[in-house]
């Protein structure tokens, strides 16, 4: 079974750093792009960008460029989403998801498998 399992909920203070994880199983992790999607409380889905585990090639949405960092450890089938200095406005559920495409259309927002989501709450 193809599966993505994300790390648990986090409660942090503004200015703190954070890394959340997404571990894949049941497929060749290195050969499928992984995307990150934000959902702020009571709001819709936002495409943050994608990373290719095979070579760490990364594409960020302009809205998130410079605000977060994607990384991956292909040897343990795990992708990461990282913040160096959290803000209250980062409070949201973050989903990782797998794209079934290679090439340009990996950025098409088509994701066939999703993690369960990680709630990040930032408050002083």
């Amino acid at each position: 079974e193809v599966q993505l399992v994300q790390s648990g909920a986090e409660v942090k203070k503004p200015g703190e750093s954070l890394m959340i994880s997404c571990q894949g199983s049941g497929y060749s992790f290195s050969t499928s792009w992984i995307g990150w999607v934000r959902q702020m409380p009571g709001k819709g889905l936002e495409w943050m960008g994608i990373i290719f585990p095979g070579d760490s090639d990364t594409i960020y949405s302009p809205s998130f460029q410079g605000q977060v960092t994607f990384s991956v450890d292909k040897y343990i089938n795990t992708a990461y989403l990282q913040w160096s200095s959290l803000k209250a406005s980062d409070t949201a559920v973050y989903f990782c998801a797998r794209s079934p495409y290679r090439g340009a259309f990996a950025a098409s927002c088509t994701f066939d498998t999703w993690g369960q989501g990680t709630l990040v709450a930032v408050s002083s």
């Binding site: 995307g35 999607v37 819709g44 889905l45 936002e46 495409w47 594409i59 949405s61 302009p62 989903f95 998801a97 079934p100 340009a104 259309f105 950025a107 098409s108 927002c109 088509t110 994701f111 066939d112 999703w114 993690g115 369960q116 989501g117």
Partner: protein, 110 residues
């Protein structure tokens, strides 16, 4: 890249049909056949229901169908069932290695 426009809400009676629209531009929906649709129940992860405008992943009932005309895509749910009550999001490739989601539609089954 602005979010694709969807109506905030839609409704239909049990057994009837509901159609949700998703309006973009020639830079996204109108330019590519990479439109997908997701269903999301409260507190759950989204589920892929339609991809490449009209295709259904394995396990998705054939009550769900997708279409596109120009820069507007549509999702139709026929034979509405209680479990179809959820939020629905469209999404599209937007060129330049970018993707974009719709604003979301809450479907109520009457």
């Amino acid at each position: 890249q602005s979010a694709l426009a969807q109506p905030p809400s839609a409704s239909g009676s049990l057994g009837q049909s509901v159609t949700i629209s998703c309006t973009g531009s020639s830079r996204d929906i109108g330019g590519y056949n990479y439109v997908s649709w997701y269903q999301q129940h409260p507190g759950k992860a989204p589920r892929l229901m339609i991809y490449e405008v009209t295709k259904r992943p394995s396990g998705v009932p054939d009550r769900f169908s997708g279409s596109k005309s120009g820069s507007t895509a549509s999702l139709t749910v026929s034979g509405l069932q209680a479990e179809d009550e959820a939020d629905y999001y469209c999404a599209s490739y937007a060129g330049g290695h970018m993707g974009v989601f719709g604003t979301g539609t809450k479907v109520t089954v009457l």
